[in-house]
């Protein structure tokens, strides 16, 4: 089966705001998803600079093509599980 791609932005803004913590997925992802994901580090995707958003809604993570704003470890895991169920 094709793995779910988890693209974690590690630009300075996202990294400082918490994407660093989401990298825990590399070490101890829950067992039901650990083998189903592929983790990629992205450079700044310029979403943090998008001034049409009232505030910086980082950190940003893509789970396949779905963007998660203000991403946290829990949110990303939940999204991955949701995708797996489909």
């Amino acid at each position: 089966m094709k793995k779910i791609k988890v693209r974690i932005c590690v630009g300075t803004s996202c990294f400082v705001m918490g994407s660093a913590q989401i990298q825990s997925l590399e070490f101890n992802a829950p067992s039901d998803i650990a083998d189903e994901i592929e983790i990629v580090e992205e450079r700044c995707m310029n979403l943090c600079k998008d001034i049409t958003r009232k505030r910086n809604r980082g950190p940003f993570v893509y789970v396949d093509d779905e963007l998660i704003e203000e991403a946290t470890y829990e949110k990303v895991v939940a999204k991955i599980r949701e995708k797996l169920q489909k």
Binding site: T12, F15, G18, Q21, S24, F27, R55
Partner: protein
Amino acid sequence: MLIPKNNANLMRTKILIKLAQSYLEDKFAEADRIPLELRPKDGEVSRCCVYKDRAVLKYRCMAGLGHCPEEETDELTTLKEYGEQALERTHAPKNKLSVIDIACSACVKSQYVITNVCRGCFAQPCRLNCPKEAISIVNGRAHIDPDKCVNCGKCFEVCPYHSVVKIPVPCEEACPVGAITKDEKGKEHIDVEKCISCGRCLASCPFGAIVERSQMIDVMREVKETDKKVIAMLAPAISGQFPGSLQNLVGALKKFGFSDVIEVAVGADITTQKEAAEFIERMEEGKPFMTTSCCPAYFRAAQVHIPELKPYVSSTKTPMYYTAELVKQEHPDCISVFVGPCLAKRAEAEWDKNVDYVLTFEELGAMLVASGINVDECEEESFSKVSHVQGRQFPVTGGVAGAVASLVGDKVEIRTEKIDGLTKENIKLLKRYATKGGENNMLEVMCCEGGCVSGPGCIALSKKAARAVDAYAQSGEQLTPESKIG
């Protein structure tokens, strides 16, 4: 533990970014909006209501501005005013960890409780083993009288049904030296005499109730509003804290306005040389063992809590000390800013006249984010001084001892031991070493488990950071006792 930083920790980062932005935009004119922006009316709530959340956030902002929440004299003082006061300071605010009274949830006093898993058994090992006769059988179930209980944990150990649970107080559990305790209202207080500034309580409190005075605004003011040379000294744990190369990071700091950037690994090289020489001398004098001295939280713990250990602590100074000395020799009028993972360094800097300010990686990160600087897009620039393998490996547990050992050579026998984390157990171990001696003669003591890469001021995961530190160390040259540094 799965995720090292809880939401309360991440909120601190957000607060720092907002404060830095507020300073850069309009010198805090709109700072009083920060709690509102972080807790909008229609957003989620973490305490009883959005208003209490905001009240707590205001205190956390105060700390971010370098004030201590306990200093509040008038509740109506605005963040704008606190910000302006911060800009009037000309010296770093004194380091202090403190508890935000209203945020402390006054967790129940650490205690053992018997749950309904209890079968009310015939043997009653809990009651028999309790040294204080605190357990009685009420309605067919064991019950602990909280007034008699001394929290020894015997009942917890002996219950065959595991029906006894311990309700901990996270900050008290985390503090290795018993510096944080409850007042009569159940709120926590930190005893400054006992506190070793390690920051464990701050990282562990699930309510984000513990804060310390930040020096971020002071450094920003020095950079942006004075024409002094402001020099950043990056602790060796910097590797891996900001994706991009270290050269990118030097470029980023210069873009922000620092006039020069130097690695504290250079000072760590000097520490290595001196500590190796000191070790050889002490062993030749017949001393049983020596401990490292570069971890300021441990150093203070030894002074205050383990006095019997004092004669064995190395008298070699820390990497920060030697680095700052080099910097001030070359630029006597500069402002020197240590940037590291450590809160205890703020305390160390107070008696080191060569260090003007101390920032955490997190604070530096907030400054960069607020300025819209993306590290890996910055021009690559190099450090003005080159460090060696030994100095670079300091921040990972085993690194300091390894560095010293590599320079001791075969002059005397060196048997190293890592005391990885200043836990209550390890403090006992150290005491035993001081009174009864032990197997090894070179003890490396790190307050944070895993070394400085796990410090409370870090951004990156310690595992990833440790790898980056290692890779960077391996790219360096070997140090010798004769290498000329600086």
